[in-house]
């Protein structure tokens, strides 16, 4: 499309107008300048400067001391905490992606048809999306409170005492409890994305399936699921990125504790820099995370493309 436009424009304008077109182009580029400057100086440059810091030992105050690739060597060969947090992050992402995608698809199917009830429930399910992570963290800290929190009080009252765990204070369960909150937090948002996708599926496909006597499950398997695959790709990709960015929620709920058991990479980077004052090492961790996310996104795209 843009090619034909360009061609038409070039063909239509005689020589003196070309000068004007060039002047206009200069103006257009000038219009991008404020954005370009703000973005490059305050975002791109700080991000790229990770490369420099990652080669140094630095406490954030004094002068960075060049140490070559020592940080990278330590990160790869000799850092149990980093390994633990990396596997935490993989588990967290896996849980969130599976449950958030499945639930948002199910609710989208259930609430696809417009009725007063569905509209109300869509509004309700979407509601957590607008609340701040910190507020959500406070609310769930209360709900998860081990002794007097509503969840455990409820579990005890129906005789399920063995399920009344120390949700945010146990090394085995805390990461999963936060993953649950994350799914609760963002399922409504992804449901709306799915609803938009499902509304694009032509009604004739369902009508034809119904004529053939297909059950609901068969309709889902042979119409909804294949037709919604592009939307699924979007939802999964976004949910993955979102789970890697869950700094606010994890930091406000547990600060990664107890004993790093609920830490994910973004919280580890923050704590390494601002609690342990190991800025150089935190920069190394950042570089690892960026590479990891880029690789994961590429992999995901590849898998989903072969599935089409």
């Amino acid at each position: 499309m843009s090619k034909t436009e360009t061609g038409a424009r070039k063909g239509a304008s005689p020589r003196p107008k070309n000068k004007l077109a060039r002047a206009n182009d200069r103006t257009l580029l000038l219009m991008t300048l404020p954005a370009l400057l703000l973005y490059s100086i305050f975002y791109l440059y700080p991000t790229i400067s990770n490369l420099r810091y990652s080669l140094s030992k630095w406490d954030g105050f004094g002068v960075p001391e060049f140490v070559g690739l020592r940080n990278f060597r330590k990160l790869v060969t000799d850092d149990d905490i980093f390994n633990k947090v990396l596997s935490n992050n993989i588990e967290f992402t896996f849980l969130v992606v599976i449950f958030q995608t499945a639930l948002s698809l199910i609710f989208a199917i259930f609430l696809l048809k417009n009725s007063r009830g569905s509209t109300f429930l869509r509004t309700l399910y979407f509601f957590p999306t607008i609340i701040s992570s910190v507020s959500v963290a406070m609310v769930w800290q209360f709900l998860y409170e081990p002794n007097l929190g509503p969840i455990n009080v409820f579990l005890n009252s129906i005789g399920l005492d063995f399920l009344a765990l120390n949700w945010l204070g146990s090394e085995t369960i805390t990461l999963r409890a936060i993953a649950f909150t994350q799914v609760w937090f963002h399922t409504g948002q992804m449901m709306v994305v799915y609803i938009a996708g499902l509304q694009q599926i032509p009604a004739e496909l369902y009508e034809a399936a119904e004529v053939d006597g297909a059950s609901r499950w068969q309709q889902f398997k042979s119409v909804t699921w294949p037709m919604a695959l592009p939307t699924t790709a979007v939802v999964m990709a976004y949910t993955t990125i979102q789970s890697f960015r869950a700094f606010d929620l994890v930091y406000a709920m547990t600060q990664g504790g107890p004993n790093n058991s609920s830490s994910i990479l973004v919280t580890l980077i923050y704590l390494t820099a601002f609690n342990e004052f190991r800025f150089g090492y935190a920069a190394t961790q950042s570089i690892f995370l960026v590479i990891f996310i880029l690789a994961l996104t590429a992999l995901q795209r590849r898998i989903l493309r072969t599935r089409y």
């Binding site: 580029l29 991008t32 810091y53 607008i130 507020s135 948002q189 890697f244 930091y251 923050y270």
Partner: protein, 271 residues
């Protein structure tokens, strides 16, 4: 039959999962801490505004509220202006530079904000921008430009070429086309982006945590963390603060639902 039953049960369960915590917070803000702990789900025995009075008399939260408002308003307005200008330039530029710029900006979408904090902190310390509200505005603008430009460029590219052409024949230059054609046509997209920016800026914790240590400059999410420390396990006070911090968003959401949903999902799909 099985379908209908499972549909109703699962919809009801998730609805309960959202309604109950919401009511716990609303009711809790009117209860004493003891009452909240003993009967978290019940209606408050009396609708006492005591917690709100205590909170407002402290004065701190009013300052935090003001800081959040200032930072959010300026961040959203500056981002919208700078991003729409740049998006128009990128969408209309017919040479490779436009494409290159677009790629450069979208690069920022792939990077989680937390991976840039070391460089940002160092730079902002050096420029004396820590513990200032305009420093916060600057980093909000810089970090939300990629997503805003991504959404707005896609929109500006959809505007039919003929609209510009006819105005250009009448002698309109790029800036004029931006002001009199692109901007008026893009009101719905601009509103969606504005809401998206509003929500993420108002709710953000990372950048205030990184750049602000002075308590009279803290924004609401950061102040909420302090409240938790200060009121230890006094959840009824914490919930009162949560209410104060959330009310503006909730009111906006209920009055502009469509724009909210489209804004926050546009950010999702394209982010």
């Amino acid at each position: 039959m099985f379908y209908r039953v499972s549909r109703i049960i699962s919809l009801a369960l998730f609805a309960i999962l959202i309604v109950v915590p919401t009511l716990v917070v609303i009711f809790g803000s009117f209860k004493s801490d003891l009452e909240l702990m003993v009967k978290p789900l019940a209606l408050p025995e009396s609708w006492s505004f005591r917690n709100y009075r205590t909170l407002l008399e402290g004065g701190q939260i009013i300052t935090n509220f003001r800081n959040s408002t200032i930072v959010t308003l300026f961040s959203v307005i500056v981002t919208l202006f700078v991003a729409s200008l740049a998006s128009f330039g990128i969408a209309r530029a017919i040479n490779v530079t436009g494409k290159f710029l677009f790629l450069l900006f979208t690069l920022g979408l792939a990077i989680p904000a937390a991976t840039s904090i070391i460089g940002i902190y160092e730079l902002f310390v050096r420029l004396g921008l820590t513990n200032t509200l305009h420093g916060l505005v600057i980093i909000n603008v810089a970090s939300t430009l990629p997503i805003s430009i991504f959404i707005l460029t896609a929109f500006f590219r959809q505007i039919p070429h003929e609209l510009y052409e006819s105005a250009a024949i009448d002698g309109a230059r790029p800036f004029r086309l931006y002001r009199s054609i692109a901007l008026p046509l893009s009101k719905p997209s601009m509103a969606a982006v504005a809401i998206f920016l509003f929500v993420i800026t108002w709710n953000d914790l990372l950048y205030p945590l990184l750049l602000i240590t002075q308590s009279d400059l803290k924004t609401l999410p950061l102040a909420l963390l302090d409240f938790r420390g200060e009121y230890a396990i006094n959840f009824s006070m914490i919930f009162t603060a949560v209410m104060v911090a959330s009310v503006p968003m909730v009111v906006m959401y209920l009055s502009m639902q469509k724009t909210f949903v489209s804004g926050l999902t546009a950010g999702a799909v394209k982010g």
